[in-house]
């Protein structure tokens, strides 16, 4: 399977900051949307979005989960 890691961000209220709440593995963006919505459904979210982990550009670290070096299935 060629799954990618997608990070999930959400906020409960319009004025809240988006917060990282978890991740999902998905084959494409559309599946990631649904998986995120159905997996992290413990709150009544005002807004949720997902982003491919590979699209995150690290600023000050070259290690860890957001550097694009880990967590990818392809």
């Amino acid at each position: 399977m060629l799954e990618r890691v997608y990070d999930v961000f959400a906020r409960k209220h319009r004025g809240d900051q988006l917060a990282h709440i978890g991740y999902v593995d998905a084959l494409d963006d559309e599946m990631a949307r649904v998986y995120a919505w159905k997996t992290y459904d413990e709150e009544h979210w005002f807004e949720m979005c997902v982003i491919r982990r590979t699209a995150i550009i690290p600023v000050n670290r070259q290690d860890g989960p957001f550097t694009g070096l880990t967590g990818e299935g392809e």
């Binding site: 399977m1 799954e3 999902v24 593995d25 998905a26 084959l27 494409d28 559309e30 599946m31 949307r33 649904v34 998986y35 919505w37 159905k38 997996t39 459904d41």
Partner: protein
Amino acid sequence: MNEPLEIRDLDGTGMSALRRLILTLADSKRMMGIRYSDWLLGAPSIEAGIAVSAMAQDEWGHARLLYAMLKDVGLDPLEVEHERPGEDYASVGALDEPFDHWAGLVAAMTVVDEAISVALLGFSRGSYEAARTRVPKMLAEEEFHASLAKAWYRRLADSSHKARTLLHDSTECLLPPVLAWLGADDASARAMVVSGVTESGESMTEVLRERLRDLTALVEVNIDRAQPNSGWDEDRARGPGRPDEEAIERVRGDRNRALLVE
């Protein structure tokens, strides 16, 4: 928009037609939930399993809301949910048996769940107030089901020969009972159209074909050539067959309801 339906103004034919319409939608939702629940384990990924688990909950929640409408037409929802034999279920025949493979569930998610949503859309646009107010939220939740269905359908259609073949065969197998159910044009269905409670089977079938045409073409299924199966039973509001007994026992909760002491 149609004038709101006054239930008390319905004659005997209209009342039994509305009962039947609510029942066939609720029973189909209940069975769709059962078929999703069959895949809580065994889905291709943990995320897919979580998604179908949540979708099963959605379907059962929708079924519960629809069964509750039966109070308006003089039926006890509790009796309907827990005391009917399988042959009384008015669910779409495409959900009678469990699916042996993930491609079968993806085809059902795409064809059957979508058909139920199209039927609900017609119901929500009609004159019955409870449907107007309660069904739109169901349809909003269903948008996620449709998204997942399309994503998986495209993925399998673009996958191995085996996956494409299973998807093709499952789609061809599901379409006839779905078209018979959605496009029903018997006296009861016509009564609901005349009363403005829902839309015609013909128009809803066209909506379904439009929504699925490009998708099913990916596995060389021409939805415009698909035809409803024969054997529509007006009294049972469904085609031939019945849900498998094991599913109905699970629906009724037979095994564990026996533990309850009044």
